[in-house]
């Protein structure tokens, strides 16, 4: 194995919170487990009934408490167990992420993926990729400190 070029980040293990809807994505994560498709242990899953249960406040709270990346997974549009939940979630997350981007916060720290109960492979690939992206971004400083007293003198 080659030595990682990025020695600075070598030790850095990001903290990633994944919100997964009960019916598709949580089941997709279960399938990844059953199929022994690994992804980094930094990813911690929180089960919600539907992607439309994910309140932007949860995501900001996670960042406030030190998360380096937050990903939300739900059923593919059109497949929502509650028929329309993920459509609302899609709008909410699009606007929220756009706002975070507008504030200059790394938009790569947030992501939405649609993962079905049959897509264990996709779940694993997505988590690997997201963890890689967040690792490369390094520690989440901006979200932790948008306010900077020293500029206010």
């Amino acid at each position: 194995m080659q030595v990682s070029e990025n020695t600075e980040n070598k030790e850095f293990k990001p903290l990633i919170v994944a919100f997964c809807c009960n019916w598709c994505s949580y089941a997709g994560a279960d399938l990844a487990g059953t199929s022994r498709l690994s992804y980094p242990a930094e990813v911690k899953i929180i089960r919600v009934p539907c992607s439309c249960r994910v309140n932007p406040m949860f995501i900001l709270k996670a960042f406030e408490k030190g998360a380096d990346g937050v990903i939300m997974c739900g059923c593919h549009p059109g497949d929502c167990h509650y028929s329309t939940g993920n459509y609302y979630a899609r709008r909410r997350m699009t606007l929220l992420f756009s706002m975070l981007d507008y504030l200059g916060i790394d938009r790569a720290r947030t992501r939405v993926e649609w993962v079905s109960a049959a897509e264990g492979q996709k779940f694993s690939l997505v988590m690997n990729d997201f963890a890689k992206t967040v690792t490369e971004l390094g520690e989440n400083i901006k979200l932790g400190d948008l306010r900077c007293k020293k500029q206010q003198d």
Partner: protein, 329 residues
Amino acid sequence: MQKTAGLIKKRVLELLADGTVTKVLGWKEGDFIYDVTPASFLSAQEADGLVYSSFCGANLSKYLISECKALTEGKILALLKPCDTYSFNQLLTEHRIDRDKVYVIGVGCKGMLDIEKIKAMGIKGITKVIDNGKELDIKTIYGSKTCKREDALLEKCLCCKSKNFKAFDEIIDPEPETKEEKADRFAKVSELEAMTAEERYAFWQEQLSKCIRCNACRNVCPACSCMKCVFDNPVSGVSSKANTDSFEEKMFHIIRAFHVAGRCTDCGECSRVCPQNIPLHLLNRKFIKDINELYGEYQAGEEVGSRAPLADFTFDDAEPSVVNERGNS
């Protein structure tokens, strides 16, 4: 302006006298002529203090929530400028006020003045402002000064939504729709969007660090009218009343903007009242711009009962990744 004020006062007195209304929501002058604040008047005598001047920027619609609740008989008269009627409609859509309890007089508006802008021109000790529509003749204790009217307009008036009233029972002195090109209300948002992430971050870091959590923005906002705000609610998990943690203002302002997204009429009151001059309306306008671009033009309060974009969807809405695709870093 004085003519309009006269007409308004005359009509208000008539409506009070014939019992059509039992209370009037308007503006009164404070210690200085530009120090105009919202006020309510219960009698003809009180209504003597009613003013309508170029400093009546304040949007009175939000007060109707509590006034409607408190009202026991008759109607409450509200003086609404064209842009205020959007907020009024939005509150009707959300069932926060009772249309039957309100008598709306739409009052014509040429655009309201921003005293901060006038002061910033170095004009102090103002005693009187004569507004001839194009220029302001400002009497001060140091003598007369003039300035161009458009240089002293409130931000919201520079890109006036409309001179038409979206709700009214009667109209006094309406203004014709302006022919001139209005300022692009998204100009600053676009400018920020064109910056690099680092520049944007620096901009907001500077702006939001000024926040003192006085809650003026929240208290004035017609869309921020919750019985109990999540930030005041200990069980919400995000309650925070003071700036104890660096992240909290950011969370507060993002969540506040998010909660009013699709409901904000872009009345600009948040920025007008901010004692720290944080351009909070730029957060709201970002949401409005995104909504318009992604989900089609939408103006909250344009019509009563319209479905807010966040309570709506289409099957082929943009994916959240659109943020990555169109942004620059």
